[in-house]
């Protein structure tokens, strides 16, 4: 018996694109430990995301592909934390900011400058591997132009 298949718009896929295993949160931090930032790109609309979501935060598609991001971006806003939670007490005061990555996603990270005067909105930063209490932490240092 012939089964009628409804005609729906299916985006063209390269073989294997969506068959790959999607990363789980543990994978993301393993990459960060190696100084790499992995995100996903939506195959349907091209939207770039970090962290790697399972569904596109722009068009809702589940067809996303893991990609490596440059880890470079620009500081948007930042704050200096003086009253720290117990696991960060030994670092206080320290700086945390929202960085806009060159590929688009925005990300919260430690800003590893020596003091507040060395941070400003609009400054260029790059991902820097950092461990705190055996946990991998998202952190940035000033970008060194090569």
């Amino acid at each position: 018996m012939l089964v009628e298949v409804p005609l729906v718009a299916v985006p063209l896929l390269h073989e294997g694109d969506i068959m790959e295993e999607k990363p789980i949160i543990d994978d993301i931090f393993k990459h960060i430990e190696n100084g790499k930032l992995h995100g996903v790109k939506c195959i349907c609309c091209g939207h770039m995301m970090f962290p790697p979501r399972k569904f596109c935060s722009h068009c809702g598609s589940s067809e996303v592909k893991e990609i490596e991001l440059t880890g470079k971006g620009t500081v948007d806003i930042y704050t200096v934390i003086h009253v720290a939670p117990p696991f960060m007490k030994d670092c206080s005061p320290y700086m945390v900011g929202i960085v806009e990555l060159d590929e688009g996603p925005r990300i919260t990270g430690r800003l590893l400058m020596d003091n507040e005067e060395m941070v400003e909105s609009g400054m260029r930063v790059a991902l820097e591997p950092l461990k705190k209490s055996d946990k991998n932490v998202i952190a940035f240092k000033k970008e060194i132009k090569q």
């Binding site: 949160i25 931090f29 962290p51 935060s57 948007d76 806003i77 930042y78 704050t79 200096v80 934390i81 003086h82 009253v83 720290a84 939670p85 117990p86 696991f87 960060m88 007490k89 670092c91 320290y94 945390v96 900011g97 929202i98 925005r106 990300i107 919260t108 990270g109 430690r110 507040e116 909105s121 705190k132 946990k135 932490v137 998202i138 952190a139």
Partner: protein
């Protein structure tokens, strides 16, 4: 659709309640709730269900299952009871659950509210516990705290609207002025009085609140927010009785009608949101409530808003449509939000002065609507208050609830 009324409400004093457990606080709020019902009520016969919000009692005091504790200790067993949780808006979620249950016809009377016992931990530990309302992997692990998230909002707000930390101080100064007239507030003192009290130990005295606020005593928590930009750590509980129109008049001749409710969400992480200086959760929740009530923001006589940090009072007023974008701080400077202003905000002192036992805060806001709309708010009573709005936020305003009530 059935109309829903508040027929009673009770609240503990908020603050450091060293000896009491969360359960003691819930029972204290229940006693006042019982007394507040004009014609009396028998809880174990009349209440069809109990919904209790709390955020983190498991970590604060090693006790969960508070919905059932309330049902058990108030003798409402075997009727339904459960916990609701959306961080600092957990008791608003309880009120929403009660509202929906009564409106659906599954109950005539719902007991709703919340509790939080926070002062059993140190400030650093409380900071750590509260941070679980943010994204643990992609915000908290980088060392951000709740004061830190709202500090980022303040930085973005100051940049966008060219306003200043100095102007923002009108907000906590107003909150403490109102809280002075609220016998249930954690702090019942003007900012200047509190500054001089703190200064005494260090041989410092101040003639003007700004001198204190700019001093080293008002230390930085997360730049640009200082101590007096942050609400305190508090213990407390609050409860409200909701009844359907079929039975409300049995219990009181002066009920307070809840004419609109709403809830909304935004991205969990602040960095993912399209706007840092606005919450889609607050906007969505309030628009749902306005639509249900058939009202516009201009119809609101006064509002209870979620001033967990001073910047958020400005953002909330703007998201609720009570004040134009970018003018929240200006409105406080011009005293438009004071008790005798055109849109009084937080007549009870707000989270800043009244206190913020997170899981009880939403019900505490409804308690103030109940008091103001029945003309029972004492020294802080607003004249001609007919329609009030409560806006309660969860986390960094990733969730939000709104209620509109009228007498």
């Amino acid at each position: 659709m059935k109309k829903i009324y508040m027929i009673g409400a009770g609240m503990t004093r908020f603050g450091r309640r060293k000896k009491e457990t969360g359960r003691d606080l819930l029972m204290e709020a229940a006693e006042e709730t019982l007394k507040s019902v004009d014609n009396g009520i028998t809880l174990h016969e009349d209440v069809d269900g109990v919904w209790i919000g709390y955020f983190s009692s498991g970590l604060f005091e090693h006790q969960g299952h508070y919905g059932i504790i309330a049902a058990d200790w108030l003798d409402i067993v075997p009727n339904p009871a459960w916990r609701t949780e959306i961080a600092c808006a957990s008791s608003s979620a309880a009120a929403l659950t009660g509202f929906m249950t009564v409106r659906s016809g599954m109950a005539d009377i719902a007991l709703v509210g919340g509790v939080e016992k926070m002062t059993s931990l140190s400030t650093a530990e409380v900071t750590d516990v509260l941070s679980i309302a943010a994204d643990d992997f992609f915000e908290v692990s980088a060392g951000i705290t709740f004061p830190g998230l709202f500090a980022l909002m303040a930085q973005a707000y100051f940049k966008k609207y060219n306003s200043t930390w100095e102007d923002m101080q009108s907000i906590p100064i107003k909150s403490h002025h109102n809280g002075k007239m609220n016998p249930k507030a954690q702090y019942q003192n003007e900012v200047l009085d509190m500054g001089n009290k703190l200064g005494k130990k260090k041989d410092m005295s101040f003639d003007d609140p700004m001198d204190f606020l700019k001093s080293s005593l008002n230390f930085t928590v997360a730049h640009p927010l200082r101590l007096f930009d942050c609400c305190p750590i508090s213990d407390g509980a609050a409860l409200v009785l909701l009844a359907s129109e079929d039975v409300a008049n049995i219990y009181t001749d002066t009920p307070v009608e809840i004419t609109g409710v709403g809830n909304g969400t935004d991205n969990l992480s602040l960095h993912d949101r399209p706007e840092i200086t606005s919450s889609r959760a607050t906007i969505h929740a309030s628009r749902m409530a306005y639509k249900m009530a058939g009202l516009e923001p201009s119809d609101i006589d006064f509002a209870e808003v979620h001033d967990c940090f001073s910047i958020n009072e400005a953002i909330q007023m703007e998201d609720l449509g009570l004040i134009p974008r970018g003018e929240g701080i200006k409105a406080a400077v011009e005293e438009r939000t004071s008790l005798d202003g055109d849109i009084p905000i937080n007549p009870d002192g707000g989270l800043k002065s009244k206190g913020h036992p997170v899981g009880a805060t939403g019900a505490g806001m409804l308690y103030e609507l109940w008091k103001q709309l029945r003309g029972e708010a004492g020294k802080r009573q607003l004249s001609d208050a007919e329609i009030g709005l409560a806006s309660n936020a969860g986390g960094s305003s990733a969730s939000g609830c709104a209620f509109i009530a009228r007498r």
